[in-house]
Symmetry: C2
């Protein structure tokens, strides 16, 4: 197959940015000026602005051995938008900074940007700025997302009160299991390069890992039901870690019922296949990008009729700690086991 390869140096930094961002016009009224000046310019009506930033590093957050660049671009945007939705706000703009080695061609970056723009289209967001430079080794993607929310409807992590109900959208643990499949196939491929990867039948789980979505639909549901959660956080590092963040900032404790933790049947079965405990995958697996939130108990009815949301547990006094009530009736303290990038273990 004849694949076109244009070296980055042929375009230069400014030529490259122009090449990658050409032909995309702003879709949000608030985007006055996008790429091409010292800074982008945003207008605002009677809203507050929310800002979130993330950096993704090759070999730490993603492996290009099994992550198509287009999926990577899409996912990098989604993980940032998820933070904006977790404020009960609407993302409007993003900036993208890249550091890339000469190993990448212009065509490779076009793929990455195709994914970035696909996410922008789907979530109605404008790419308004960026910086593209070289790295000696590897790919680094830093994205800043900017959104708007109504002052009285923004939801922070610190608003959970004793007696509030703890809820979560979607299902948990599948993205982690998708990663396990991809890692397994990568290792098999290393040892037996002639073997084809066995990915069939794992569509749902793989899609959760490779092309996750942010829960804009849940935010829309909140607006329709006139529900403002008392606190909210997105589930990027695993349910256990996020519950602990939320409780820490709200100065409360919590319990969740093991039987209420939503696990997709495919993820459940795959966990068993891998000889993992499904509930551990749901608690400690990352990258679900679901929304974990608390509501006042009087709002319980609103949530009960909301599709794809379950009530997981309850907020309790800080001194009562943070626990999982197992199906067998035991109380297990919930310990953070999210990604610890810096630990040596």
């Amino acid at each position: 197959m004849d694949v076109k390869r244009t070296e980055l140096g042929q375009l230069g930094e400014f030529g490259l940015i122009e090449h990658l961002t050409n032909g995309h016009s702003p879709r949000n009224k608030s985007t006055i000026k996008g790429i091409g000046d010292d800074a982008a310019v945003l207008d605002h009506e009677n809203f507050q602005t929310v800002v979130s930033t993330d950096i993704m590093v090759e070999s730490i957050h993603f492996d290009l051995g099994y992550t198509p660049l287009k999926h990577l671009g899409y996912k990098a945007v989604v993980s940032n938008l998820s933070d904006i939705y977790a404020m009960n706000a609407t993302p409007k703009q993003i900036t993208v900074s890249l550091a890339i080695s000469n190993r990448f061609s212009v065509e490779a970056l076009e793929e990455l940007y195709a994914g970035i723009y696909k996410a922008c289209d789907y979530y109605n967001v404008d790419l308004i700025g960026g910086d593209t430079t070289s790295s000696l080794k590897g790919l680094f993607i830093s994205i800043t997302a900017i959104g708007q929310g109504e002052k009285d409807k923004l939801v922070y992590r610190n608003g959970a009160k004793v007696g509030d109900l703890l809820c979560v959208s979607g299902d948990l643990g599948a993205a982690y299991l998708g990663l396990q499949i991809l890692e397994r196939e990568k290792h098999i491929y290393k040892d037996f390069p002639e073997m084809q990867p066995v990915l069939e039948g794992n569509d749902y789980i793989l899609q959760r890992q490779l092309k996750p979505e942010a829960r804009r639909d849940i935010i829309d549901q909140f607006a329709k039901s006139q529900l403002v959660p008392t606190s909210m956080i997105d589930v990027s590092d695993g349910l256990a870690s996020e519950i602990r963040h939320l409780c820490h900032q709200s100065k409360v404790g919590a319990f969740i019922e093991e039987g209420s933790v939503p696990i997709h049947p495919d993820a459940y079965q795959k966990a068993i296949d891998f000889q993992h405990d499904p509930i551990t995958c749901a608690l400690s697996g990352g990258e679900d990008y679901e929304l974990l939130f608390t509501i006042h108990p009087l709002d319980a009815d609103k949530v009960k009729f909301m599709p794809d949301v379950v009530i997981l547990g309850e907020i309790v006094d800080k001194n009562d700690g943070i626990h999982l009530h197992s199906k067998s009736g035991r109380r297990h303290p919930i310990i953070a086991q999210g990604w610890q990038h810096f630990s040596n273990s």
Copy 2:
């Protein structure tokens, strides 16, 4: 000497961010919520928001062999704020994303953050968010700066008109020569490790490289003189490159007078010592962080009385091209020679 070294893994990602950002409260009224939630929250009055982003990569943009981490943090912020001032706006908030290898200790990052916060203090800016993760190799710093400006007073790159005067603040080329000194001393040190670096007598030039400032004072002068430039850009990649950007976006040509290009006497002398042409250093050397702008000719008097600003040349028709008028009366086309990170040369 007993230097304390705390490994990054001892704190973990969230502990590290908390450790590095603790005890700094917001100074801008518009900063409603800073670090510690899914996103920061900004309020706004009757202003437009401007956003700029940059990524700096070890061994590409900086060499830790001669760049103290505190200076690096300061400079990383300044280079972003400079973009906001170049819109005739006031920076209010920044986010900082880092990817760092285990080679760095917590104490090293404290130094970096000391520089970041020093710049925040000096420029009255709030650090409102960030992400800190590991890299397999090297240090990556991505900063997004957010500012505010009055709608009718924001200055873009595309507003220069034929007949406008081209002006620049400060002096040019010194930062580049500072880098040459540091590079020279590094090479000498490699060959003769017992030798001490010879940095004395180069204070001005070295400071321009190691601790540059953004020209907030010029923006203040504009406000005081009720002057709104017709176009503006900051000089980060060298005068030649920036003039070309400005002309390209404004669809005009320009000429500058060699004799009017401001070069500090120390930089002039150092260029001669290095057997460089001083005007070439001023045209092609980067990292000056001065402001290049155009004004309507009727505003010439306002600029003449402005300290540290000179009129360099004039905007002409696009077909007349972009030229340097040399002291000897010749016309040289101005070619971009800014940093080309991706070229193989």
